[in-house]
Subunit: 473 residues, 2 copies
């Protein structure tokens, strides 16, 4: 039952710091001697070298290490593993791997600080997040990031333009420039950030396409870059200086998460010209990154009607040459503020089932405020369910083993095992005990829904035993 | 904006009793003179008569009344409207109509009573449930049902075998017989029940097919009938006496909800021989019911991997000749006790998008206990989101209007209108106010997620205004 154990490691309630400590020495050994200006997993994969990270990630996936090497070499899989983030347990994101979940954390100018953010990190990891992004835009960005990196066994992503803007003396986004961006990117890379969102795909010529939209631009970085281009009447400096960013990424093995600045912000704007035009640029940039051995993911929407989700996955695979697609939800309705984790889990499961490699969670607080620790937990659980549904739908080997185990425990009325196998044991037990709290109920062949006489599993089992069904015929 | 208004009537927080009172006189007029042994909507539809119910239901759907008449005549749509349930606001269930949501309420031997059940009815209706089923199996079944019927503006369904079993003196399901069942069915029909689950599709020859399953039979009525058949070594009496049941249904216009006794209880058992064999019998029974002008829905799973959901919808449409499919979830994972409303909303949205006519909700308490009022509310909201996602995916005319309205309010930072348009205004406002409670924040062009500087909608709007984007090029 290896796969179950890996899927459910997070249920062991292991402190993330334990995992960090266990990994430090091992990763240190793998990294020994890995020097030079090009140390990416893609570089080694293309040389035919099997790295420790590839082997470790393959083990977690139940894949042959050679398959991981080949997928990384061809750009269809990434192993976001900055050589300075030694605490990391390497993992793989790509079509051949299990569907992954990212949890966004980070403070804002309005609320939260370092201690709260570490609490969110722990909540996300304990609930099963495969990566986290630190989207801090408030105070102490570098300190919060340092603390997250040193405590995180999962890859950490950032959006460096947020810190860059904090460091513009005027705080005016029109005063951003490539030199500052490159400085911030290099500092974050040196600190150990595993992947970074870079809004290089939004171009001057795309902006008129936004005109007919209901909600304009809803990417924070994308909005900043649009403003910069319109003010300066120049092309996006992240696009024109893309290779300089790639040089930094090469040196530390930072993975690109190419931002979709023009993702739709509502169903009305879904799969429109602006979105698809930017996607074409992202496909072009993926090839440029690969030419320098830099690992690359493509970010995707957002808000997409359910009948367009699979189409969007196919479109990305085609236009972006199979680069892993990392989608945000998508939400399949716009009318669910307060329940957007649920509404987007519908789109996320559909996206995962039809090819998305990683699902960026949405919490119940989306569109309303900054998520707190409980929101992070709820969002992560919703998305682990969506990702697991996708893995089953895509028939990943062994994906259903966990479900079958729980179903066996259910049919056997082994309540304690059902709780233990549940995605959130405490909640499952709490709901059960609300109406049947006594200890004796742990061996009951019913719950309060049907009571002792109507449990269908019990009725049918007894009947089939009596009738000895199949033998009589 | 008629469609929005209809979709969102439930947000007006109108007391269900108000709706009941308003309807009583109107429906009384329609029903005047509708006597005889065959008073079904299907009967009138086939005669070419447009009933008040058809016109009213068509108005709610934004369909031509003639379309509703034709769909009802051909069995692809039902209007569950017992002539004795005068309080009812008629509604349509079928492929040409919007996707509907059913909420199960009812007590069990272990918990809940009449007052709690009325509370659940109200919670379900205020959250937008299109029908409710009273699945009571505890004390006072007829009294609870009477109270629900007299307070319900939505169709009420039941599973008469539960009451029948309560009336077997021995309480032993093996002592059930067709005479008692017909008595109970007639009494419930006379009381005004709009649709009934009848487990007539499970046959003796299906039982050996259950052998390889992980969770056997998980339908309560199905388990009882299996036990009866195995004990008596006879065919299912609901199957052999089907036409006698249909005669009662004809007289009061009760709609069949043909129970799927052999629905899978876990992913392992999905779409297996047992399930499909019973579905074939249900298709045969639908034709028998239609031959007597009795309206019919088919009940469906249950637990189905996401990649098999659309296939199951096509299978039913084909095997059951287009009869409306009324599915339970389905759950797309088994590992989510405590979150089964969310996990099954994924399957429900996919089912609705690919043809299911009604979605039976699953609450967070599923598999763990009897839902209480808050569980009913949470389950109903989750399923209204799923059904709405399905309507958008199926491009029902006007389905997205509500979303566009909310998106416009969002882009305009009209917070009060966003809350008012949300599927659950209180929850949306509560989440927002957790971090920005001051009254002044009602006009803020940001929330606590991004703070005042980073709201992308605001940044981009300002930038596009400054750059005057599209005109310059």
């Amino acid at each position: 039952m290896r796969v179950i154990e890996d899927d459910r490691r997070f249920l062991m309630r292991e402190d993330p710091m334990e995992r960090v400590r266990r990994m430090l020495q091992r990763r240190g050994e793998w990294l020994r001697g890995r020097t030079g200006d090009n140390v990416t997993q893609m570089h080694y994969a293309r040389l035919g070298t099997l790295t420790g990270e590839m082997e470790f990630a393959a083990g977690r996936e139940g894949l042959e290490p050679g398959v991981v090497r080949r997928e990384v070499a061809e750009g269809r899989m990434v192993i976001p593993a900055n050589i300075r983030h030694v605490e990391l347990e390497p993992m793989a994101i790509g079509f051949a791997a299990k569907c992954k979940v990212n949890a966004n954390i980070g403070n804002s100018a309005v609320t939260s600080g370092g201690r709260e953010e570490l609490g969110k990190l722990k909540a996300a990891i304990l609930a099963g997040a495969d990566t986290v992004m630190d989207l801090s835009t408030g105070r102490d960005i570098p300190q919060i990031r340092e603390s997250i990196l040193r405590h995180s066994p999962v890859p950490v992503g950032t959006v460096p333009i947020y810190e860059a803007l904090e460091r513009v003396p005027s705080r005016d986004p029109r005063d951003l420039d490539i030199d500052l961006m490159l400085r911030v990117i290099e500092e974050q890379a040196r600190q150990g950030v595993d992947y970074m969102t870079i809004h290089a795909g939004i171009l001057r010529e795309h902006l008129p396409l936004v005109k007919g939209r209901l909600t304009g631009i809803v990417s924070r970085g994308g909005g900043l870059m649009a403003g910069w281009m319109l003010h300066h009447e120049k092309q996006n400096f992240l696009y024109t200086h893309f290779d300089q960013i790639s040089e930094i990424f090469q040196k530390y093995d930072v993975t690109y998460s190419l931002g979709d600045s023009l993702r739709p912000g509502c169903l009305h704007d879904a799969t429109d010209e602006a979105q698809v035009a930017e996607l074409r640029t992202l496909g072009e940039l993926a090839r440029k990154a690969w030419a320098m051995d830099v690992q690359t993911m493509i970010e995707g929407p957002g808000h997409i009607p359910l009948d367009q989700v699979a189409h969007n996955m196919r479109l990305e695979a085609e236009i972006c040459h199979g680069a892993p697609f990392y989608v945000l939800g998508p939400l399949v309705v716009d009318i669910s503020p307060g329940y957007d984790h649920l509404a987007s889990a519908i789109g996320a499961a559909a996206a995962g089932a039809s090819g998305a490699s990683m699902l960026c969670y949405i919490t119940p607080k989306e569109h309303l405020g900054l998520p707190d620790e409980e929101d992070v937990r709820q969002g992560t659980i919703a998305y682990k369910i969506a990702a697991h549904a996708a893995d089953i739908a895509r028939r990943r080997p062994g994906a259903r083993d966990w479900d079958d185990e729980l179903s066996r425990a259910r049919f056997a009325f082994d309540w304690n095992r059902q709780f233990a196998l549940a995605i959130d044991p405490e909640t499952a037990q709490h709901y059960h005990d609300e109406t049947l709290p006594q200890d004796s109920m742990r061996s009951a062949h019913f719950c309060s829904m049907c009571g002792p006489k109507y449990c269908p599993m019990e009725t049918a089992r007894a009947a089939l035993a009596e009738g000895n069904g199949d033998k009589k015929r």
